[in-house]
Point group: C2
Chain length 225, copies 2
Amino acid sequence: MAKIITLLSGGLDSSTLLYELKHYGHRLHALSFDYGQRHLRELKSAQDVARTAGISWEIANLSGIVPLLGGSSQTDFTVDVPEGHYTDESMKVTVVPNRNMIMASVAVARAISLGFDAIALAVHAGDHAIYPDCRPEFVGALVRILQHCHSEPIGVYAPYSQHTTKEEIVRLGHTHNVPFKLTWSCYKGGDKHCGKCGTCVERREAFQLAHVTDPTEYEDATATH
Amino acid sequence: MAKIITLLSGGLDSSTLLYELKHYGHRLHALSFDYGQRHLRELKSAQDVARTAGISWEIANLSGIVPLLGGSSQTDFTVDVPEGHYTDESMKVTVVPNRNMIMASVAVARAISLGFDAIALAVHAGDHAIYPDCRPEFVGALVRILQHCHSEPIGVYAPYSQHTTKEEIVRLGHTHNVPFKLTWSCYKGGDKHCGKCGTCVERREAFQLAHVTDPTEYEDATATH
């Protein structure tokens, strides 16, 4: 069994990955990132999910580099969060530049300092359209660079990166008893999921397509998509 | 001409690279990293070098992730800085895990947010023995992953990574009128270079081998190596 640093945002995808890797018996340590995101609420969800899974958890504080990231609605509070479908052109504003490489590189540092041998990230096929660093080409290049960043290669678990959709992740999470109610998707970061932003629309849709009961309380329970 | 985010530690290598890229007419922005290093003194040197070169400069504050890095003499003040030759086995303790990938990934984020098209790093052949992330294989893998982390590829300038020694860098810097007196190498971070730690020994040696006058004031002016 591997010793894996698992990136945990507190959303559906990374929570499902955590439970799946746990199911296979790996030794896990969960890592969440504070990069000054508007939806800090997700860090609480990450903690709740990790605790429920019985997995050690910590935050990597990247808030110090936020001033350098500029221009994204997730870190710059003067930019409005767009509503509508997640895969729309309008969602490009939600991109934090090079986020996955930054998070992966810090996770690798943590793996090295703890004597772990791999990292896991829940990038999935549904994100390919707008996020270059969620595509299989990025994951392939990540696998290669992690052969050379330390005296021993560091492995990469990214089982959803090739073909897995959000719908399939919900189905998989359901199989592994992921506590979906604890997970967080909304980019607006209120008390409840707004039900209208890109990630909320995608979340609702995934549960419906997967025919899995959605335990989420939405502010806007009537929103259509 | 390219628009390049140049990693600038304030040492001989990165200062020489800054001056060389400036010589070739590139548009530059220099980025230094605060990762809680003992030798914060080098950040002052980086600022002085950038200012003297007339290049905009800023610090990326990574101090928030220091608690995760653990065990290196550069960040954990309970670990002694080893003395002796830089390439000795004892110098392994100075490794910050995955430092170059972390710094490169943040530099890429900055490049994207500023609309720049490349990053530059001064990894060189002399570091290969102990630092896996200074080797040509690492740089090659970095080039590849930066094809996929953004909608446009981000380039990598790492001209010293294949064969260039510290001695050759000093010669090159001399040609480009690098203000060597402003640069900082010592890992101990006192008022003057200690003259005895690994980087000081390497620095003195490089000037001697290059037959370039060493303008550095060393605490221990008599140290042999």
